[in-house]
Each structure stands twice: as structure tokens, then as C-alpha cells.
Amino acid sequence: MRAGALRRNASPLRHLAARHPGGVVAASVLGAIALAVILAPLIAPQNPFDLKSFDVLDAGIPPSWLAGSDERFLLGTDAQGRDLWSAILYGTRISLTVGLFAVVIQAAIGVPLGLLAGYAGGRMDAFVTRAADIQLSLSTLMMAIIALALFRAALGGESLGRFAVPLLVVVIGVAEWPHFARTARAATQVEAAKDYVRAARALGVTTFGLMWRHILPNIASPLIVIAATQVAGAIMAEAALSFLGLGMPVTKPSLGTLIRSGYDLMFAGAWWITILPGLVLIGLLVSVNGLGDVLRDALDPRRRAD
């Protein structure tokens, strides 16, 4: 019985994998990154956030395959003498954490607003649509830059460093809600006209129950598709902000911070501090985007047709 159920579940997956060899690669890369990040405390030779665990005298040691390397440091060290492999593991952890939590906030704001706008229509709909238009025209990255710049100017770089993770999550989360709201609204409008919704309403289900228990599960597919794109966007925004010095501090580097801190040394020959985290960041973004494409293909009925 269980085996049968499993086989039934596995076959559409296998079908999908056959149609999207790129998707399989993306999913594997992403899986490997996720595993490495979760196991970071076990894999990493040192804790890059603990200032006592590394020595500035070790700064700028090249990766193991280059001359002048040190067997203690697989990928070399950064400008502070941190083991780069450990720093990349922990940095990717921050990038993914910020990306995921920011998208949770986006969805928490956007989905209820979109449901409400799509279901209630009328003035509520006009208001949400207009607010979403305005928010989108303001450009997320610009708003985030301004918000964090003001925070930094007001409280100094140190306070910014201490609260960087929650700040980045909130700033990127709040600015990007319209994507979820628009998607939820459009899908809700379609669902609200269907018979099962009318039947549930006739049975006396409350408006809240109708939206939460009946409509939301039915509009989940497009929301999941958009979530993947949004995670990639949030990771990219975090990296950009940290690269500008408005995100994660040097004492707790994300991938963007590593790229920034290595950039000063790149012309002194220490290219690995910038390039290696940069390649990891690109790998992360390409695989999240690739997975998003596969999800779109698998879940969007319009795409499935052709």
C-alpha cells in the first residue's frame, strides 16, 4: 500500500526530471548547498564569527592548489585571517536565512492582502492594487539602501552590525510584498467565482474560513512558484546591501560582505577572497532560479499545456 503510494508520487517527479535535466542539476546543487549550510558547524574547521578562533597573521593565504598555501586552509584565508571555507559556509547560511525569512515576511503581508483584495473586490481591491503599484514603483533595492543608510547614519556602523540580520529581513521583506499580493489577488478572483466557493458560502462558512481554508489551498501553486523567484531576489538584495557596507558587518560576514572585504585585496593578488564567495553566490542564485523555473513548469497549468 505504502509502496504503491510512493510509486504514484514518484512517477510525476521522474517525468519532470526527464523533461528538465537542468532542473535536476539545480535541485542537486541547491540540495548540496542546503546540506552543507545546515551541517556547517560540523563541517567547518573553525567558527568564523568567533574572533578568537583565527589570527590576523594568517591573512591572505592562498587556496590549497596555489603556491604559498597552508594545509590548514583548504580555500585559503580572508583579509582578517579567517578560514575562507568556513567563512563561505557560514556566510551562505546567513544569505539563505535572510532570503527565506524575508520571503516569509513578504508572503505574510502580501498573501492576506491579495486574498482580501481578490475576494472582497471593490474599494478594498482598488486600494490594495494602488498601494502595490506605488510600492513597486519605489524600487526595493533603492528603498532598502535608503532605510539602512539612515539607520547607519543615525546609530552608527556598530549598531547596524548588531541588528543586521533582523533589519535586512524586515527591509527586504516589507518592500517586496506586492508580488505576493498581485499573484494572490489574481488567483483568488478566479477561484472566488467557482462553484465550490459558492457552495461553501451557501453552507454558512465564514468569510475568513472561506478565504483561509477553501481558497488559500487552491491558490498555493502560483504562490509557491513566485516564492522561489522571490527567494533568489532576496538573496541578491542581501548580497548587494552587504557589498555596499549597509548589511552584514565584517565580524559576521555574509557572502556579500566577503566579496566586499576581499575586493580591496584583489589587486594585491588575493583574488580568491572575492571570486570564490562570488561563485558560490552565483551558484546559489542560478540554482534557486532554475528550481523556480521547474516549479513554474510543474505547477502552472497554462505552461503545462504547451
Partner: protein, 330 residues
């Protein structure tokens, strides 16, 4: 005549809206200044007796109630006085305007590249959707979307400056002063310095624009008038360029114009990578050194760019496209 009046009414409405938005931005800038900037500390330092502070505060009008101060700030803003930079000791607007040509020329260079590449690439992808080249272009543009703009810049510098040594990596190079405008477009050195930053900035806009051009063209190619033109015996090239493209350009211009905020943010990132002495680079310096008047003036200036662009896009779209109904406003 009625249409003209309606058009005038629409334009006036948009202008009033734009002015209200600018007022809101100025209010925010004023609030930030009052909350964060203590001009006294910047002028006198910490170790000055309280009596002297009070005297100076009175002299500068800083002890006035806030509505009076706000009125003074707005009055100054209208005349172009938005305060004095604490780093440069000069009027903030002057400091920012001096950096404007650098940012403008960078955006100009990038826009030219985008225009020259996205139009042919987008049209090609629309008229030959199944071709091998079209698939390749779309695949590359997906990859392009996944690479952050600052990494593109770093890779370009690594390849063309560090490895090959063909192009300079930092700054604007030799510039020529034309009145208030300092240009790098008239010297070979200045142009060489522009190539990598402009390529970097265009790399992030290109995928987006190729998709836009392709989408708009696909839309237009499906219309009846295209079929009519073909039936009349017009050559394919003529149909694509003078019929479909002309109609596709309008929504393109509108959407492109509305992305000005994103463009400014990407310009800021590009300027950081290439140490390009533009407004974004200046803004980050102001943030690091907590130059509150300079920061707020940048906010006002960027807000102005944003509002002017959006208003112009709205009005121009109306002028060019009779299909946008005036009463169609919701």
C-alpha cells in the same frame, strides 16, 4: 478641442500630484534632519560650554519652534538651498550637482548599449522564436538575471583589467570641463574608462529589456494590422520595424521610465565597484561619515528625479497614444 482640454486637465492633475509627492519627500528629509543632524556638534565639537551653545543655537535659529524651522527649510528648498555638507563645507546641492555628470554619462553609456543590443535581440527572439540563436539569447539572459551587478563588474575588471590589461578599472580618467558640466566623453581616456562600468550597468538591464522587447513584439505581431500589412505585400523587415516595432516601443518606453528607482540603485552599485565618482559613490561616502545634510539632499534629489521621470512618462504616454483613455482612470 474637448480632447485637448481633457489632456491639459490630465497634465495639470499629474503636475499637482508630482508637487504633493515632492512636498512629502521634503517633509521626510526635514524630519530626518531634525532627528539625526545636530549642526552644533558639527560646527563646534563636543567641548564647548552650554552657554555658548545656546547663543549659537539662537543665532542659527535652531531654538525656534519646529513649524518655523520647517517653513525656513521649505523656503530654502524652493530656492535650491538644502543645507551645507559637513564633509565638504559647501552647499549640499552644489556638491551633488558637481557629481551628477559622472552618473549621467554612466547611465547614458549603459542605455546606449541596452538600446543597441536589446532591440535587435528582442525582435529576433520574437520573429524567430524557435531558432537556435533565440534560445541561446534567452538562456544567456536567464543567467544574466542570476548574476548580481557588482559581481559582473568584478569579473569584467578581473578579465579586462587584471588579466588582459586592456581597459582601466577605476575612476573616470581624463575629463574636460564644459561650463558646469565635467565630461569624460570627449577624451579617449575618458571613453576607455567608461566602457567597463557602462557594460556592467547594461548587463543587469539587458535581460529585462530583451524580454520586454520580445514580449511587446510578440503581442503586436499577433494583431490584425500586421496581417493586413503582410497581405498587402510589405516585406517582413518592413512589417517588423515600421509597423510592429513602432507600436511596441510605447509601452516599452513607459515601463523603462518607471524603472528609474531600480536604475539609480544599480548605478550606485556599479559606481561602488568602479570607484566611479558619481552621486551614488558620494552618497555612500556621506553615509559612512554621517553627513546628514548631504544624505537628506541626496534623498530629495533622487526623489525629484523619480517624480519628474514618472510625470513625464505619464504625460508623454498620453500624448503619443490616443488609446489611453482619459476617463479610463480608476
Amino acid at each position: 478641442m474637448r480632447a485637448l482640454l481633457a489632456g491639459l486637465g490630465f497634465a495639470t492633475g499629474r503636475l499637482i500630484q508630482a508637487m504633493l509627492v515632492m512636498l512629502a519627500i521634503l517633509l521626510i528629509a526635514f524630519a530626518v534632519r531634525s532627528a539625526l543632524g545636530d549642526p552644533l556638534r558639527e560646527i563646534m565639537g563636543e567641548a564647548v560650554p552650554e552657554s555658548e551653545r545656546a547663543e549659537l543655537r539662537h543665532e542659527l535659529g535652531l531654538d525656534a519652534p519646529w513649524p518655523v524651522q520647517l517653513a525656513r527649510y521649505l523656503g530654502g528648498a524652493v530656492q535650491g538651498d538644502l543645507g551645507t555638507s559637513t564633509i565638504y563645507k559647501r552647499p549640499t546641492l552644489e556638491v551633488i550637482l558637481a557629481k551628477f555628470p559622472a552618473s549621467f554619462e554612466l547611465v547614458l553609456g549603459a542605455s546606449l548599449i541596452v538600446l543597441l543590443l536589446s532591440l535587435p535581440a528582442g525582435i529576433y527572439c520574437a520573429v524567430r522564436p524557435r531558432a537556435w540563436g533565440a534560445r541561446l539569447i534567452l538562456a544567456i539572459s536567464v543567467l544574466g538575471i542570476s548574476i548580481p551587478v557588482f559581481l559582473t563588474g568584478i569579473f569584467l575588471i578581473t578579465i579586462f583589467s587584471v588579466w588582459l590589461g586592456w581597459l582601466p578599472a577605476f575612476g573616470r580618467g581624463e575629463t574636460i570641463r564644459l561650463g558646469p558640466w565635467e565630461t569624460g566623453l570627449l577624451t579617449a581616456d575618458g571613453l576607455a574608462h567608461l566602457i567597463l562600468p557602462a557594460l556592467t550597468l547594461s548587463s543587469i538591464m539587458l535581460p529585462f529589456f530583451i524580454r520586454l522587447v520580445r514580449g511587446a513584439m510578440l503581442d503586436e505581431l499577433g494583431h490584425d494590422y500586421v496581417r493586413t500589412a503582410r497581405a498587402k505585400g510589405a516585406s517582413p523587415l518592413r512589417v517588423w520595424l515600421s509597423h510592429a516595432l513602432r507600436n511596441a516601443l510605447l509601452p516599452l518606453a513607459a515601463i523603462g521610465g518607471l524603472q528609474i528607482g531600480t536604475l539609480i540603485a544599480y548605478t550606485l552599485l556599479t559606481e561602488t565597484v568602479f570607484q566611479w565618482p558619481g552621486m551614488g559613490f558620494l552618497f555612500l561616502e556621506a553615509v559612512t561619515r554621517a553627513d546628514i545634510p548631504l544624505i537628506t539632499t541626496y534623498l530629495v534629489f533622487v526623489g525629484l528625479l523619480f517624480v519628474v521621470t514618472n510625470t513625464l512618462v505619464d504625460i508623454v504616454s498620453l500624448l503619443l497614444d490616443p488609446r489611453i483613455g482619459l476617463e479610463g482612470e480608476r
